[in-house]
């Protein structure tokens, strides 16, 4: 970021490659729409360019850009007239299905049709449960689980104390635990 502020435009491409994927996943899981997530990420980086002069090196660049993206997501959610009620049967826009699934992460190497089907069912159920989380808990959960940001940085992005962030995270996990109680036994069995 220092290089970019000094006029090195190639530094912006480096920042973009480093942060666009976590930001995109955060916006995608937060908003549930791939196209909107792309717009959020693009707008966030455009604002980075516009406000580069105002950036102070008191915090990390990731904290700053996640703050911008979070504010854009909040604006989008406020403007959205429809409350998201994702259907388990509806195709998930923007999600390509690529990447490891829970089954791929936890199952053994042997392909198992029954196990793959269960993993897909769990994934759908997890995404639905995450979508049902309150916004303040969902954003903290996604920053922690998807973007792998530490609690301290999340507290700076969200603007609340760190203990509040941990409490929200615990509430989100407990709610997911309740929603996924049917699969908990399965997860424990996979240990």
């Amino acid at each position: 970021m220092i290089r970019f502020q000094s006029g090195d435009r190639s530094a912006f491409a480096v920042l973009l490659r480093r942060h666009q994927a976590p930001l995109y996943n955060f916006a995608l899981r937060h908003l549930g729409n791939g196209h909107t997530a792309e717009e959020i990420v693009q707008d966030a980086f455009v604002r980075v360019v516009q406000s580069a002069a105002e950036f102070k090196h008191e915090a990390r660049f990731s904290t700053w850009v996640y703050t911008i993206a979070r504010n854009l997501c909040i604006d989008h959610l406020r403007k959205s007239a429809l409350r998201r009620h994702p259907s388990l049967d509806a195709p998930r826009q923007g999600e390509t299905g690529a990447g490891p699934t829970l089954g791929e992460q936890t199952a053994d190497a042997r392909p198992d049709v029954e196990r793959a089907a269960a993993a897909g069912e769990i994934r759908e159920q997890v995404l639905a449960a995450i979508a049902e989380l309150p916004d303040e808990q969902r954003e903290v959960f996604l920053m922690r689980e998807v973007s792998n940001l530490p609690f301290k940085e999340i507290s700076r992005i969200v603007g609340v104390p760190e203990n509040t962030v941990k409490s929200r995270m615990r509430y989100a996990l407990e709610r997911l635990q309740e929603e996924l109680s049917d699969f908990e036994e399965y997860a424990r069995a996979l240990r």
């Binding site: 502020q5 000094s6 693009q42 769990i122 609690f151 941990k166 699969f183």
Partner: protein, 388 residues
Amino acid sequence: MDCEKFEATMMDELYGELDEVTTAAAARHVAGCARCAALFGGLRATRRVAAIPHVDPPAGLEERILRAAGQVTTTMPLGRRVARSISIAGDWAMRPQTAMAAVFMVMLGTSMLLLRGRSSRAPASAEIRVTEQGTPAPAAPAASAAPQFKPAEVYPGAPVAGARRSVEPKALAAPAAPSQPAMDTADDTRRRSAASSQMATSDEDGLAEPKAASGAFAVAPQSAGAGAWRPAAAVAEAEAVAPFDSALRLYQSARYDAAAHAFDALSPGDPNADLWTARALREGKGCRSAVARFDKVAHRAAGASPGWDALLEGALCYRSTGDFGNARVRLNALLSVDSHKDRARAELDRLSQMQPQAGVAAAPAAKASPRAASPPAAAAPAGGAPPY
């Protein structure tokens, strides 16, 4: 670690943000606490189940963002561009290298300033202290008060207010005030040399016609040194000749009788003052009253500048009264004086032109005068040779 402390650190333990010591303490507590172990195990299992698969962003997203950023950069408002420029400049300004360079430049500039100031100082021995004395001289009324005679212009060598009335080079070379006395000496020298040439301006009426444009050393009375900058020693000398100045001012203001008395009071032992007495008498009472005084000065200051001047001016006075014989005798005496011979020769030529016309009228006058055709120095002591 008890259950309360474990719950406070449970989320950190779940995401691996605890240090090793606290992690070990938490593990020992979980191993001995079934409740906390169940709570922690449930959250850990939920986290595993709720793991979200990572989705790669669309292929064209990066390119679109770069394009949008480029457009924003080119269409950035002036205010933001200025802010960004200030930010870049501020970023450079905050760097330690810049601060060190600035400090170095300040030190260099200060050193240059001090060195320059020291080298430009003149040595103490070369310092000249100047003291202002007196007040500006008032405007001279001579122009209106003396319409027919302006001594400062007619006689370029005429003393001015504040000047010395007698020239003594030894006394003038005071070490404390080397510049102004030297100037006075030069002025007096010029006065003497110019006096003879400027006397040629007189015509039949005597010495009344000014010739300011003849290249003379014309000094206006108001330009005298009363308000000028003078060294302290010169000021002291000027104060000593204040009576002479006051007499001269009387003369310049056309109060010739008073000036004659004032100069006369100064005249004992001072041929210069005596000469000015004769001049005041000439201007106040006419040449007939002044010729005797001119002769007296010529006798007393024989061989000196006042004596030559008195001889010349006396000759001109004789000529103006028609006593061409006495005039010729005095002018002939000046032919042997280098500083006055040219002027004397010129006056003799004029006298030769005038004498045929007035010869008849002048003869009785010459006979009537007991001192006719006899130079004043002819009455000098028998043992003394006449100076001219």
